[in-house]
Symmetry: D4
Subunit: 175 residues, 8 copies
């Protein structure tokens, strides 16, 4: 069953500017939150499995051709010794956003350090561990795209305003 | 003594698109690596001290007016309970990059968690602790700007190529 | 469904001296332990949702007006990159007590460090992670109020004495 | 050589309302920052060595008689398995502020957890590890006293305003 | 329901030489493993709830009178900011064994550091977090008593030999 | 019920070259993943329980005779204060691979540090915490054996190729 | 140069009841604090280097013969993957006290977990990381011996009383 | 200045079977301990700088051709977000040994987790953080080679025996 990919829904002919890649199928329950956010903002994206360790050449090919294919931002999620975001950033100068997936034994602390502690020269903009990080990777991609696309900026600001308005004044015992 | 600000050197009339803000003067020895990288790529920037805790209104004013002033990317560095990057991101939808400054007792682990573990809705693209993170924040800002400015992309790719070429084949005992 | 607020029960016209604020509805199952403690001691309070990241202006307005509204102590709970207690303390010189809410991936370790590691100049009195911390924030608020209100001191000391007496001499297999 | 104790300087006959206690002489280079802050705000205090482990009865006597002696706030600093703040809080219902002193092997992480993770029933308002925490314990004591003493509130707010004004606009290379 | 106390079973008139104390009833599911081990070795013990924070005077009285009552070894279990073992050791020169009880948020890491990181002068012999630690506290108490009681040494060595013999040669899929 | 041991299935007379040892039966649900991998590659192995702490002489005898018995690689799994891999490596110069078993309180962080932080002179090649580590220990044993046995190299490379091919191009919502 | 061994000074013919063993010469600057404490209390001891990894048979021989040689308590210090205390405890039912030596990279956190997290069945009474732990191991050995030797108890209690008396009332700026 | 490479000294025509690779020149002060160990055992090796992030294609070419060039074991050292060992293991089925280099902010904890926490399918045999790990990587390489080369086994066993003999019986104050 194929994940929803908004570009086919909202802009059939548009080349997506955002790629969401992940190390394995097991990362999708986390990374789909990035996809949902982009769906909410009507930003086309493509979701792919690209494993740094099991499919290193697929990863290299993806990274080396990402800009010429039209991608502007790459969201990469991985867990444990999470090498995918950093290695993709080694082969492309596009902005790469990293999402540390929560791991079994160490709760994503290994994922976080493996992604964020990149040496000088190859940056990965890292978001929070798990679902919040995936949602925020989507938001940050929108934020980057908004610099060149006023329509995205408008949708992003509307999303933020609606979110602000949705915050209740008082906590409720019934929720 | 005022830090070098390349916009006065290379593009006198240009409004800088990158803001480098930090919580205190003591963060500058770290954050100047972001400035140096931007100098290397001839990207104008403005460096300011904006303390979330000591000057919260200055922070709010900065964040709320950043986009209209012409900034496109905000680099924010702070240490300890580092609230500056996340709070700036609460008041602007511009992309915010966070640099965890190495702290005295906990070596920046507190800075890192305070910056990267943002809740869903308000993203901060977090780089590594310390100098490497500051350099990479500069590179990531360049990467984002390169999407709309081919000249920056060319300089960024040249910087990366030169860096790749500078890697020696063998380690040396004399260094 | 609105949480019980003892001021309406025990002192209808009294302006509560304690504010319990939290970053989101999801913090209420933790923060209600502060409310219950204050209920136990018949200390009026007001419970509000004030999100540092989603409603930063609500937060600022709350903090700036808290003293003139009659609040004496602010209890602030938040999780993850928990900026609420520290940012409130940036806008008010009232005593602010911070409760690190247990987070999903890092069990509140991120919440704790984000709250307690404040830089010199802006203090947050931090309690334990989770429910124990929320209860103790209520107790500490009572302790502070007891300095000026002997009746609270009497109730607080009675609460403590009762608690001491309730400790069984021997462990029981049946509990 | 005896540490400066502002009550003898500024208010000879005043009973200090703040006690600064610490587990050993080796904690004084940290805890003196609490004393200096109180000196700055002209708040009398008394500084004492009270070791939970070496002088447990001194600690108990101190805690049990603190309120009747006229103390309103207790600042307690300790390192490693830091039991002083929590044990003092077990014998008094006065507000107790804890300062985790930076330890040799674990940089104060053990001190922090030993102080902050108190069980429900006995609160310790914990500040940051080390010097920042000691300064902030002084500030929080002032904040608590300010509730009943407008003059302290005025001095505290003036201190905060001066601090805000002292933040430079731009970082300086010469510092 | 009162926990089994082997001294009534095996040596009605014997004063137990081992005390098992714990901070609260909730520690008993862990600490009963110490009791069971002592039951296995027919070593009388007494199990008591002694809370450092809720019943500090009970704790002090217990510790100060422990040696004259005939206790030789004290096993103390506690969780979180676990002060019980160290404070008991402050009032008695009997050997004190500490068991870090697994805590809710930090899995006993806080308990461990609060117990083991005692300053020079007041030792606590610390065992592992949780059930294994409780069992081993019982074994270590037996080991200490065995120095003066050959019968205990014989039972201890027999227990160890039986345990060695019980280790299967190969793992089994059916268990 | 005895675990499958491939040497009886695929090469009845072959002395297995790989030993899989573990500290207790409770480690088998983890360590069987090493066995399954070796089964997949038709590499004979022997699985044994060898407890460093309960059966130290069995451990020593095993380690001292391992090479002469024909073993070439030893896979050792243990949890908590995991001494088995390092102690076996102290008595044999065969390559020893360590698998940190996930522990109850600390999620295998203690196991990992106890295994990997060996002093200079006695190496243990350590794999990841838990099941992934056990599988990889099997793979690394195969990798070592492949240096001298081309057939194993062929099977190992085929296993890796099949694994690469099995990675789907896109994530699926239905899994 | 041979370390002072008090048994030759104070009781030439006495068989020492305490063994201080350590994994390497580099542990002596830590472990000598145990020796000094025993010197202070006139308790004979023997100090030896026994490496679990480099001299495993020496370790086994030491542990197996320790009781018959007349030792009553074993103090074992080691760093990193510190297996010495636990392995000695595997071969003797004498009480074993473990001292985690501060390690280079992880400051003794690895040493601590390797020593304290022993599985049920083989206890090691663990003291603090580093010098405080070594001193306390000496004190705990004295405490154990005091159960059978009133003279040691008297000296131990005198040591503790003197230490209590030595605590100054106030901190001093001149130290 | 070129590091000593023993193959030119001891076996001019021999193709080295061990490769020592590292992410940057700054790793050499750590990794040279692997080289020195191999020198001690007269095992030829080649030392190269191969940066995963700055020279990803050099890394890929190295890994893909390593077996055909005659390498049998690869030792890879890196720090921070240390991707080199795992990525090399993605492109070769040779045994890969990883050395976590001690990093500036996190003391190699990030390096360790980035190397050891590999997902199932791609193993890296990880050694200790820093110099001990580098020495042990050399020893483990020797151990692996010893399976096919009795001369190496003899030299390895002699090295171990000499090391065992070099352990003094007693600690010395003069060292």
């Amino acid at each position: 069953n194929f994940p929803s990919m908004s570009q086919t829904d909202t802009a059939p002919s548009a080349q997506p500017k955002v790629a969401i890649i992940m190390g394995s199928q097991s990362d999708w329950p986390t990374m789909k939150y990035a996809a949902e956010l982009l769906d909410d903002l009507s930003i086309p994206y493509e979701a792919r499995i690209v494993s740094a360790h099991r499919t290193p050449d697929r990863m290299r090919n993806f990274a080396m051709s990402a800009r010429e294919k039209g991608f502007a931002v790459i969201i990469a999620g991985a867990g444990g010794a999470a090498h995918l975001p950093g290695m993709v950033a080694a082969w492309t100068s596009l902005p790469v956003l990293g999402v540390p997936v929560q791991s079994a034994a160490l709760s994503g602390k290994d994922s976080l350090l493996s992604i964020v502690q990149m040496p000088a020269g190859v940056p990965v903009g890292t978001l929070a561990i798990g679902k919040a990080g995936a949602t925020n990777a989507g938001l940050m991609a929108a934020s980057i795209l908004s610099l060149g696309e006023p329509a995205i900026r408008d949708r992003l600001d509307a999303w933020r305003t609606a979110r602000t308005k949705s915050v209740a004044e008082h906590p409720s015992d019934s929720e």
